[in-house]
Amino acid sequence: MIEATGLTKSYGDKLAVDDLSFTAEVGRVTGFLGPNGAGKSTTMRMMLGLDNPTSGTVTIDGKAYRELRDPLRTVGGMIDATWRHPGRTAREHLRWIAATNGLPDQRVDEVLRLVGLESVARKRAGQFSLGMSQRLGIATALLGDPRVLLFDEPVNGLDPEGIVWIRKLMHALAAEGRTVFVSSHLLPEMAQTAQDLVVIGRGKLIYQGTMEDFVGRAKGLGVRVRSPHLPELRTALTEKGADFREEDGALIVSELDSDDIGELAFGAGATLHELKPLTGSLEQAYMQLTAEAVEYGTGQVREVVR
């Protein structure tokens, strides 16, 4: 379990992370969301002991990262997949990291196989594509077979096949009882990957809880109805006193659920071609919640999704 308490980091008088407290639970994939510049990477660097918090603490199973003995055996972290010497081969890169924590070379070959890089193990990392670099970064995180995994933007630069692979890997890792903490800008991807969410904006906590609850906040969007018998349906809805509006030849009905509308349509003799509850998406919930907290807002068009 990861636990941050009052985590704060300031650079001069600029607060990058502001009194941030959250937890990431065992056996779950926790997504870490926030607009650019919200302080995600700074937070993750503090988790790995790379940056010193100005105040507050972050612990892994109750211990500060710097107190861990052979930390790679407890926490695997990938902050930036480009952290490698371009002239060193993938295998040598993993070998020196493994050596620091007394992990055998055999483990290096195992993780290379696991991420699908065994055929290029003796190639210089500088020749790797972004996707291959990401796989090498993930191999680095997996080296010590850790119970806690941190990934910063792991699907960046991956092809669709690679994205599916990462998603399955995260789920498998969490199912094995590990704590998986993953940041991403790609909301649709996050919606499929994470079970819990930690959302921050301007360094502050905006939301912590399950993905379901979070998405639930963007509900109340209505039900979309298409029918060749629109006049009859309109009359029935007006009689019932329901609010509705027209959009692209369909009706968007609010305050009634799809069961009610279906029965109403049946009673009015209206055939339905479509009856679709407009559930909230992670993207909508996210936009609503972070609209205020966007660091680099662009006026009307807020570009938070890369």
């Binding site: 660097r45 790995l48 002991g49 790379l50 940056d51 010193n52 990262y65 710097r66 861990l68 003995r69 052979d70 930390p71 790679l72 972290g77 902050i79 930036d80 480009t82 952290w83 490698r84 010497h85 371009p86 002239g87 060193r88 081969t89 040598e92 890169h93 070998r95 020196w96 990291i97 050596a99 620091t100 924590n101 007394g102 680095t140």
Partner: protein, 250 residues
């Protein structure tokens, strides 16, 4: 994390890129070639002591300084320093291991340069008095192991302090190639300052006494005193780099 583990990691790191091999090769080849030219073409009027065979050692030391600076500073460039600290969060053991590994590699290059230069000179001028007879003769040749080791530590320290390879290299090259030689030109006090320059000091322990003879200097310290002085400078810079890197954000 044990000492053996971090030493092994730093050894893999140093020897798995091409840079150290290139630097080692350049240091040895340049030093031996210069020595060969010097003994082949410069008329030496009977002043060929064993220490004069080390005429090119300063060149080798400069290349090793470059090697050590790159070994430390490029780690910040490529982000591998952050990975190192992720793996060894207490940091100091990893930085000590880097000093030890780079120092040992530098010492090996120093021994190759020292004995190689002596052997080249001996082959070219077999008639000259170049036998390794006295302690001073051995110090001049084998002592390169020590001066190169300390130069390696100095380079790692500079790399850690500057973090940017270009700045660190610029500083080191301007220092060794310009400042140390030019201080002599300062009126009145130039000669005195020159005798406290770090690489002049290294040369007094293990190197030629060409400038001393040329400028008719009377160095204030003996060879071992100069080694201690040079060593202190290198260790202080290395320690400063280590302490600052320990404290700063990675």
């Amino acid at each position: 994390m044990t000492a053996a583990n971090v030493l092994r990691a730093e050894r893999i790191k140093l020897l798995s890129t091409r840079m150290p091999w290139w630097c080692a090769g350049i240091a040895v080849v340049v030093a031996l070639a210069y020595t060969a030219l010097f003994f082949g073409f410069v008329p030496l009027e009977g002043e060929t002591g064993v220490n004069s065979t080390q005429v090119a050692s300063a060149l080798g030391r400069t290349v090793v300084l470059v090697l050590a600076i790159l070994a430390a500073a490029t780690e910040f460039n490529w982000g591998t320093m952050k990975l190192t600290f992720q793996a060894v969060p207490s940091r100091v053991p990893a930085l000590l291991a880097k000093g030890a590994v780079v120092g040992a590699f530098s010492a090996l290059i120093g021994l190759l340069v020292g004995f190689g230069s002596w052997a080249v000179a001996y082959l070219i001028e077999p008639a000259a008095d170049l036998g390794l007879a006295s302690g001073a003769d051995w110090r001049a040749v084998a002592g390169q192991g020590l001066t190169f080791l300390l130069t390696g530590l100095l380079g790692v320290g500079l790399g850690l302090l500057f973090r940017n390879p270009a700045f660190a290299l610029g500083f080191a090259l301007v220092w060794t190639q310009l400042i140390e030689g030019l201080v002599v030109l300062i009126p009145k006090v130039g000669d005195d300052i020159y005798q406290w320059m770090p690489f002049f000091a290294a040369n007094q322990f293990s190197g030629p006494d060409l400038t001393v003879a040329m400028l008719k200097l009377e160095p204030p310290l003996g060879p071992w005193g100069y080694l201690a002085y040079f060593g202190a400078i290198c260790v202080i810079v290395y320690t400063a780099g280590l302490m600052i890197t320990h404290r700063r954000d990675a």
